[in-house]
């Protein structure tokens, strides 16, 4: 640096020369740290030697990784982090931000159209319905998480209540359907006057609202004891609540089937018409050739509809006093009370509404999988949904949808890391590094977009025109 200030002209002529030693030193130190960390973490590999577990060491993989880190750091030092680089003067939004503003009106309809056309697109791309099964299943998975994200968004994003036990409501919804649909007395009751197959065909459509209501009720039950809590304390209690539900499901064997779960749950039907190959099946009635994929595509549209209902309801609620009250509660609880809001009701309504959508999603999960067990409702799911909400930008619908697609889609993409074998050799198993890369991606998003992918909050009311103020201009919880 001293050289630069003394001979500015020389520095301009050869920008790299004066910073090279410093950059090399820094990259070397970084490489040493990487070696220290990766040496044991990546270097050791557990192998089975003569039936016993032993350790093997793989120096080549460590060397390649350390090499990449050293080179990457050096390049960054010489380019992006170079002190000779002119400081970026930002006047107004950058080209990316301006581009986003330009396409934003078309973004939602485009996304919507894509979601509607996705199964057909997938079938056309892969060359047939049966071949597109993987893609459509992935679509269903993503949409399930979009819906869960939108549901949790009501509690966390709008009302500002940190809920780490959201999976509990997902479980309540799933078990509501599983238990009711497989229940003998209920089946016998309907069989007595509506026919033997009535309950198997209609169970999903009857249980869907029941699952939502039941989960909402549980949301209220959770809400009551935690009314006085906020922030960290609330997070711990909700975390415990999620675990309680899971442990009850495991241990109440008579009722829930325990760890073995509940199997052979009735499949979804097209409003009473089963997706079977028989006479009165969906394909025969609609004059189509029977294909098991019909049910999968139908499930895709069911979860799409459920997710859209969630989004639509949330958008409408935000414009009503109750939705505004949720947001005000997130901003300032004391101010809410002195403005005459009963914060008890506001919190309970947020918990119940969020839980209700979790219940719907759970009911859908049960009907899709045809099998539920407590293992499907671990804390991982809560953490994943919360991560989707936070990464998406709390309170932003479109951000949550994009985050769900990126997270769930990205997780799947990371399964296909075969090309890494060419870098690290045949013995390298890339799928083991899935979670590592996933973690890197999350850290990266939080560094570059600390408020989530979509950080601006849409006002619910305008006087004349809509003016977007970027969330990055407003400090969280302050102003």
């Amino acid at each position: 640096m001293a050289v630069d200030t003394a001979h500015p002209a020389g520095a301009v002529a050869s920008p790299g020369s004066s910073i090279l030693p410093g950059a090399l030193k820094d990259a070397f130190i970084t490489g040493l740290i990487a070696l220290g960390l990766l040496g044991p973490l990546v270097g050791f590999e557990t192998v089975v030697i003569d039936g016993a577990l032993g350790l093997a060491y793989r120096p080549l993989v460590v060397a390649i990784m350390v090499g990449i880190i050293f080179a990457g750091r050096l390049i960054l030092n010489l380019t992006v982090w170079s002190p000779n680089r002119p400081p970026k003067a930002q006047a107004g939004p950058g080209p990316v931000a301006r581009g986003m503003v330009a396409i934003s009106p078309a973004f939602k309809p485009a996304l919507f159209a894509f979601a509607i056309g996705f199964p057909f697109l997938a079938a056309a791309m892969t060359g047939g319905l049966n071949e597109s099964r993987y893609l459509i299943d992935l679509g269903i998975l993503i949409l399930t998480y979009v819906m869960l994200g939108w549901g949790l968004n009501i509690v966390v994003g709008l009302a500002g209540l940190l809920d780490l036990g959201y999976v509990a409501f997902y479980a309540v919804g799933a078990y509501t359907y599983a238990l009711l649909a497989t229940s003998e007395p209920v089946n016998a009751f309907f069989a007595s006057f509506l026919g033997e197959t009535f309950w198997a065909n209609w169970a999903f459509w009857f249980c869907l609202p029941a699952a939502g209501m039941f989960a909402g009720l549980w949301g209220m039950i959770l809400g009551f004891p935690v009314l006085r809590l906020r922030g960290d304390y609330l997070a711990i209690v909700t975390l415990a609540f999620g675990e309680i539900i899971r442990l009850v499901l495991i241990n109440w064997v008579d009722f829930t089937g325990g760890g073995a779960g509940i199997a052979s749950i009735p499949r979804a039907t097209f409003f009473g018409i089963p997706f079977t190959a028989g006479e009165d099946g969906f394909a025969a009635l609609f004059g189509l050739e029977f294909n098991p994929m019909h049910r999968i595509v139908f499930l895709y549209f069911v979860i799409l509809a459920l997710a859209l209902i969630t989004a639509f309801t949330t958008v409408r609620l935000r414009r009503l006093p109750v939705g505004r009250a949720w947001e005000a509660l997130r901003e300032d609880e004391i101010a809410c009370r002195s403005l005459g809001l009963n914060t008890t009701n506001v919190k309970l309504s947020a918990f119940a509404t969020g839980a209700m959508f979790g219940g719907f999603a759970g009911c859908f999960f049960a009907v899709r999988a045809g099998f539920v067990s407590p293992e499907s409702f671990t804390f991982d799911i809560s953490a994943m949904i919360l991560a989707i909400v936070v990464l998406g930008g709390m309170g932003s619908q479109i951000g949550v949808a994009v985050a769900a697609a990126v997270m769930m889609g990205g997780m799947e993409m990371l399964r296909n890391l075969g090309f890494l074998k060419q870098v690290f050799g045949e013995g390298f198993d890339p799928s083991l590094y899935r979670m590592l890369l996933f973690g890197f991606a999350m850290v990266a998003i939080m560094i570059w977009k600390p408020r989530g992918l979509v950080s601006s909050r849409d006002p619910t009311i305008y006087l004349k025109e809509k003016k977007a103020v970027s969330g990055s201009l407003v400090k969280e919880g302050h102003g």
Partner: protein
């Protein structure tokens, strides 16, 4: 300043109120009366218990002893949100606006007590009083300057059509010119609409000049009370709150 109509029964009566934080007595038996149409100010230095009294009237924290009567009704044990529904509006200490919501939405939140019946005319009234808010209507509360935020807090309180407006340190951290604007607005509201105002202030000079009557709170006890101008002349008040530099 006897222009204010003083009826026999006070609108708000605080009777021997004692409030505790844990074992520490913050208010040691306070008596304050606010009559209809009056501006009453409560002055005192840091930690005297001014904001505590203000919050106690609103039920958080609750008074452990004593009584708070509003229009003859005992509101000592009433939940905070129900007290607000009795048309007492509060602009709390530190303003407490909703930072991520727009100015418009903040004002909307204030109107929910009134069920939006007079929303448009009330909005117009707030904008006449504070034209700056109209310019900022679509802006997030958190991006406003301190003075604008204070105007928003008062405006939000006014949207509920209160009969009693309680303001906690509206001059806190504001430039003198803005303080004058805000105090002028309070005077205007009182003069034209007869709005009753209970004002908690550290800025004793401005507050006593504005108010019809004043109380001086020291360590949780009311030590002096009287007409605003009269208190302003008292040597003890001048020494403690004006020339002593503690304002």
């Amino acid at each position: 300043m006897s222009a204010a109509v003083t009826s026999s029964e006070p609108m708000l009566a605080v009777r021997g109120v004692k409030t505790f934080y844990g074992n520490i007595m913050a208010l040691k038996g306070v008596d304050v009366d606010v009559h209809r149409g009056e501006i009453v100010t409560l002055i005192g230095s840091n930690g005297a218990g001014k904001s505590t009294l203000m919050m106690t009237i609103f039920g958080q924290p609750r008074a452990r002893e004593g009584q708070i009567l509003y229009e003859g009704r005992d509101i000592t044990r009433m939940p905070t949100h129900e007290i607000a529904h009795l048309k007492i509006a509060q602009s709390p200490e530190g303003r407490r606006i909703f930072p991520r919501m727009t100015v418009f939405e903040n004002l909307q939140m204030g109107a929910s007590i009134d069920n939006f019946e007079h929303f448009d005319s009330d909005l117009e009234r707030v904008f006449t009083l504070f034209p700056r808010l109209k310019e900022r209507i679509g802006q997030r509360g958190g991006t406003l300057s301190g003075g604008e935020q204070q105007m928003l807090a008062i405006g939000r309180a006014l949207m509920s059509r209160p009969r009693l407006l309680m303001l906690d340190e509206p001059s806190l951290g504001l430039a003198p010119l803005i303080v004058k604007q805000i105090f002028d607005a309070i005077r205007e509201l009182n003069r034209t609409e007869g709005l009753t105002v209970f004002l908690v202030e550290q800025n004793a000079f401005h507050a006593l000049k504005l108010a019809h009557r004043g109380y001086v709170l020291v360590n949780g006890v009311v030590t002096m009370s009287g007409e605003g101008r009269e208190l302003l002349e008292r040597p003890e008040v001048r020494a403690a709150y004006l020339e002593g530099g503690r304002h």
